[in-house]
Symmetry: none
Subunit: 208 residues, 4 copies
Amino acid sequence: MAPPVPSSTDTRSRILDAAARLFHEQGFNATGVSTILREAGVNPGSLYNLYPSKDALLAAVLERYTQLLHPVVMAPVEAATADPIDRIFALLKQYRDWFLPLEFRLGCPIGNLALEVADSHPEIRPLIQQNFDGWCGYVKKWLAEAGDRLPASLDRDALAATVLTVMEGGLMQARSSRSAVAYDASVAQLRSYIDLLLARASGERSRG
Amino acid sequence: MAPPVPSSTDTRSRILDAAARLFHEQGFNATGVSTILREAGVNPGSLYNLYPSKDALLAAVLERYTQLLHPVVMAPVEAATADPIDRIFALLKQYRDWFLPLEFRLGCPIGNLALEVADSHPEIRPLIQQNFDGWCGYVKKWLAEAGDRLPASLDRDALAATVLTVMEGGLMQARSSRSAVAYDASVAQLRSYIDLLLARASGERSRG
Amino acid sequence: MAPPVPSSTDTRSRILDAAARLFHEQGFNATGVSTILREAGVNPGSLYNLYPSKDALLAAVLERYTQLLHPVVMAPVEAATADPIDRIFALLKQYRDWFLPLEFRLGCPIGNLALEVADSHPEIRPLIQQNFDGWCGYVKKWLAEAGDRLPASLDRDALAATVLTVMEGGLMQARSSRSAVAYDASVAQLRSYIDLLLARASGERSRG
Amino acid sequence: MAPPVPSSTDTRSRILDAAARLFHEQGFNATGVSTILREAGVNPGSLYNLYPSKDALLAAVLERYTQLLHPVVMAPVEAATADPIDRIFALLKQYRDWFLPLEFRLGCPIGNLALEVADSHPEIRPLIQQNFDGWCGYVKKWLAEAGDRLPASLDRDALAATVLTVMEGGLMQARSSRSAVAYDASVAQLRSYIDLLLARASGERSRG
DNA sequence: TATGAATGAGGGTTCATTCAT
DNA sequence: CATGAATGAACCCTCATTCAT
């Protein structure tokens, strides 16, 4: 028999859930610790037992995003889509599907924090970078799997970074306009670019 | 003889300068009104005489960014670079040149505010959008000037949005990594894409 | 031909009107000078030219209430009611008629100020007292006119003070309950008392 | 052994004591929270931990006045005076004795608040009314105990309301004049009225 | 370990008033 | 005399955090 989940774990989860949600909805600075406490149903002393500061809680939230990257973000894409190139656009479509019903409110939780705390919280910046690296890592893996369907001369790492650029830059404009137009436009240009790359590689292969 | 600049204008400018700088350096929520007052050398009553709230001051800052878009951002690019396609990359290089000495701290002042206040301040969102629209407007103009050097089938508005996407998404990653790598990579992919478009249009033209 | 009313008089009137209304509606401390300025359509400099302070404005408002006592409060009663005893109850009914449509909001402007500023503004207290004295003066005059319809032993000054007591005490309870019950009850007891006095005096006269 | 009084209760009491005293001395609007904090020796966070706003503190003060009505106001009267009719005048004399040494400064704390906040604070009005109802309740009880010493036809509730009217209306005039004259006059007229009622009832009883 | 009161610096804003134009 | 920006103390309240129980 498994031991009962200790209540501290439960408390820890409730805090992390509430903090992650509120940081996403309101931003880090606009979220008061007291709001987190209320939403998590926890006392200040309990929170400060588990996390020595609001900043430490932010770090924990970002660690959890790292853990959730695969199960929440990447696994659904990989499960639904087999072709590595298609997976890139399935990933971009997944964000669209998440945020369209919200009229593109909220935005990327990592991207939001990147712009809000990267300068003020030096100890947090690496955790953001870790999330971006993980995200790009999946894209790089897919691009590697695409093998010679893409030109040999293509800088696959640069393209992976660009996919993240398209997601973050597109989502930023979508939030500002409450519309999908700029996001869709950016994704379409990326599609067009990759199609040109695929065509060139195909030509190279047939000539090769 | 022109009348002396009224002192109120001076006060207004000092407030706007300080607010714009601090919002850029620290973010909107992390900047206290008292800090703005101290840096501007102004009393609370004076500020609230000119701007009824911190939010109104934010709106004024964003209006000013709209006014500064041409003289500060676009005019230098257009003065230094004649070719419309080259202007796009000169613009992207200008941001690189601005932020490289800062190790990519600060980031885009509009983009930062977009992610920080777009949801919480509905009245501010249109002002952010206005800045993005103005920015893309210049790129659209340049793309139009490129005429048939670009394929007729190209969605020039979509490409303009993508240029902004590359700038914002690239800058976000640059801030997170304190490095130019992802920014340069994204710009390089855009360059590669546009080169492919130019090549295709050139082929179309010669085939006539 | 009369000279045109100087604009300063107009300004003065607009300020007094606004101040009197706002002090009545919101109280003295709860009314900001800026609100008075806005409602009067006047600039701070203009107000402070005419009245050196908010307290001086309050004094002017109370002076004006003294001037308005006859035309606004007493003249209508005396015009509508001839019998001196009836005038007392007509006066009390006039307040009821004024405040019933407001569910007894606002209350007596003098009484409100009496309780709010009597202690903190020693220079204002005599002006409040002057209003009360004027008010009681009319009641005393009527009681004198009632002659031997009232007992010779009756302290007419004390009864006049009591009429004011009934008005103020009754109105206070009416405001607290948003109902006429306590006001009507107090007036009815006064009516009953005066009826007993009239009956006794009548007996004395017939025996006399 | 009883547990020591928890310090929270102590803090709460110090806040309530200071707030009640200052609201009484200066009025609600003229009393700053910072003054309450200083006088209570308490930090802002402590106050707002116990009371979510200045208005909530006002409500608590009025609740406490309700609790204190019996021990502070009514019990001394009932202890010192047995006869129910005499108790009414002992109560009115108690107020006189309290305020005469102050030259009738301060006034009734409930009455002051009634006029200052009844309109602006709808949630407070019922608490004021509750105090008035409690006060009148004692007078009603005494009038009931007077039985057939008073005329059967007398509206005892109306007379009770009138007693409060006399206290509040009399105290208002006493504050304005810094003299007992109008207060004493009003009480004397009430005495005269009740004597007439007692005489009439006595006559009715003897005629039986 | 859980609780929630206590801490005190700082939040954004309004106040009555003055003064330069 | 009108204007409205400037003044700076004070307003009510919230912040992240600590500590006694």
